[in-house]
């Protein structure tokens, strides 16, 4: 069964399109604030129309959880799987999966982007990186 699909909006579509082209992007406002998820107004200064900027793909593992029960049938065959909170070196934070074994995960571990395709959708996952 397919994973639940993201539903890009006019505001968030550049994020999902960039992943399909092999890049993780985030928004940066004229005031300098960098953020995700996509929105029309900067939450720091409320100016509209931030620009998109390519992320280095490097970050750190802030925290993670491991599911032993599937809340959606598409995840039944993936148990036990992790969902992780990663902070990019550029500042924005996002929810993702770490593709390494669950017991290899450690707090504040360095991670790097690993784009993976699920059907027609490109997802921004991460793998553990050398310290």
């Amino acid at each position: 069964m397919d994973l639940p699909k993201p539903e890009p909006t006019d505001v968030s579509r550049p994020f999902w399109d960039a992943l399909r082209e092999g890049h993780l992007v985030f928004q940066r406002c004229a005031c300098g604030h960098a953020f995700l998820p996509a929105r029309r107004e900067c939450p720091a200064c409320l100016r509209p129309d931030p620009t998109w900027e390519r992320a280095s793909g490097k970050g750190r593992l802030v925290s993670w959880v491991v599911y032993h029960t599937a809340y959606h049938p598409a995840f039944e065959g993936r148990l036990p799987y992790n969902v992780a909170l990663v902070e990019l070196v550029e500042g924005p934070r996002l929810l993702t999966n770490i593709v390494d074994p669950n017991d290899a995960l450690a707090g504040d571990a360095p991670v790097e982007l690993k784009i993976e395709w699920e059907g027609e959708t490109a997802l921004s996952r991460f793998r553990l990186a050398a310290r």
Binding site: P6, L36, Y81
Partner: protein
């Protein structure tokens, strides 16, 4: 002139907690309000404000007016508030401020929900585009915070267990509790994962039920002959971002601001609190709010709870009727009710001589927080 001590909770009431098949939330609100009015020994004709917490599991349009109509009351002020488990203390605050401003006189604050026999899909729902990564459920957000606290402070499973053990022990002594079963460390450690690192014994019950309280000035309570009014010494609030990843820290709660405001209003410090009812939707919430209220230093809640400090007879007994982990999962107001009983000296597990009680309410995934300090 401050508000501290000038307003009271005049009466409390609730339905049974647990499985109440076939009961709708409006009906449960009416039952709880009827019981609260009876306990305050006042007629509904003196009530001119109805503040309602929306049922989390099934939002309805203009819900406050549905409840007011069912109560046969045309309020001057009120409505329904969507703030998760922090809503009840917030609504009590609104009621007090409304009365102070001359906008109303006597207020009912109530909520009811039926996720146990009704629809609980709300609690396991996917979270937007992040569902593609498998991100589901309320519990997962707390699990993420639980893990981060352990990363930063070395918080051990035994520390989380101590919270569950205390709440379940107190609930076992409460004849009204939904779950009357004490646990020990071995049983906690055998408890199955909900979302690792959260075990089943870290998680609140899921319950049907309703609860209500009557709020008025101390002066009005005397005029109306309310037999056991309990004074409100302080309250405070705090709120943070909707998206969990957008918070600068996962290991601080809005209890910092809510508690700071409430303590300042009451003119009290953490050391002055005799008993506390701390929102225990998950065990991590209790550990973090103990720290954030200043009952212990940051990162030291594990050591604080390890020696029985939060059990009856300890330095700060908490959740003396069992909390959300044992009495009922219904959010928030039952903790206020137990605070009222402790201040009256009528609790099933009474803390001898208790003169102050701090009550903590929290909503969403630590999105919202409200603090109440009651006096005897």
């Amino acid at each position: 002139m401050g508000l501290s001590g000038r307003y009271v909770i005049g009466g409390i009431g609730h339905t049974a907690f647990g499985k109440l098949p076939g009961r709708d939330t409006v009906s449960m609100n009416v039952e709880a309000c009827r019981n609260a009015l009876a306990e305050a020994r006042i007629e509904k004709s003196v009530v001119d404000a109805v503040f309602v917490k929306v049922p989390s599991s099934a939002h309805q349009f203009m819900y406050g007016q549905k409840v007011a109509e069912a109560l046969g009351i045309a309020p001057r002020m009120g409505g329904a508030w969507d703030q998760g488990g922090a809503a009840n203390i917030t609504l009590l605050s609104f009621a007090i401020m409304g009365i102070e401003a001359g906008q109303c006189d006597v207020a009912l604050v109530c909520y009811a929900d039926n996720p146990r026999t009704g629809n609980r899909a709300h609690f396991g729902r996917p979270r937007g585009d992040d569902a593609a990564y498998g991100w589901f459920s309320t519990a997962a957000g707390y699990a993420m915070i639980h893990r981060r606290h352990a990363i930063e402070y070395g918080t051990r499973p035994e520390d989380f267990a101590a919270v569950a053990i205390a709440c379940r022990k107190h609930g076992a002594a409460n004849p009204q509790a939904q779950l009357r079963a004490a646990i020990d460390l071995d049983k906690y450690m055998e408890s199955p994962w909900v979302v690792d690192p959260l075990r089943k014994d870290d998680c609140a019950l899921v319950s049907d039920g309703g609860a209500a309280m009557v709020v008025m000035s101390a002066k009005r309570a005397r005029e109306l002959g309310v037999p056991e009014p309990v004074p409100v010494l302080g309250f405070g609030h705090g709120q943070t971002s909707f998206e969990l990843p957008q918070r600068a820290t996962l290991t601080s709660t809005e209890a910092v601001r809510a508690g700071g405001t409430a303590f300042a209003m009451a003119g009290l410090q953490p050391k002055d609190i005799d008993v506390a009812q701390l929102y225990d939707c998950f065990t991590i919430t209790v550990l973090m709010t103990l720290e954030d209220y200043g009952f212990c230093r940051k990162g030291e809640a594990g050591a604080f709870v390890a020696d029985g400090a939060i059990e009856i007879g300890g330095r700060l007994p908490i959740n003396t009727s069992g909390g959300l982990l044992s009495e009922t999962g219904m959010p928030g107001l039952q903790l206020v009710m137990e605070g009222v009983r402790q201040m009256r000296g009528t609790a099933a597990l009474q803390v001898p001589g208790a003169k102050t009680c701090l009550v903590s309410n929290q909503g969403g995934t630590m999105h919202t927080h409200a603090t109440l300090i009651l006096g005897a």
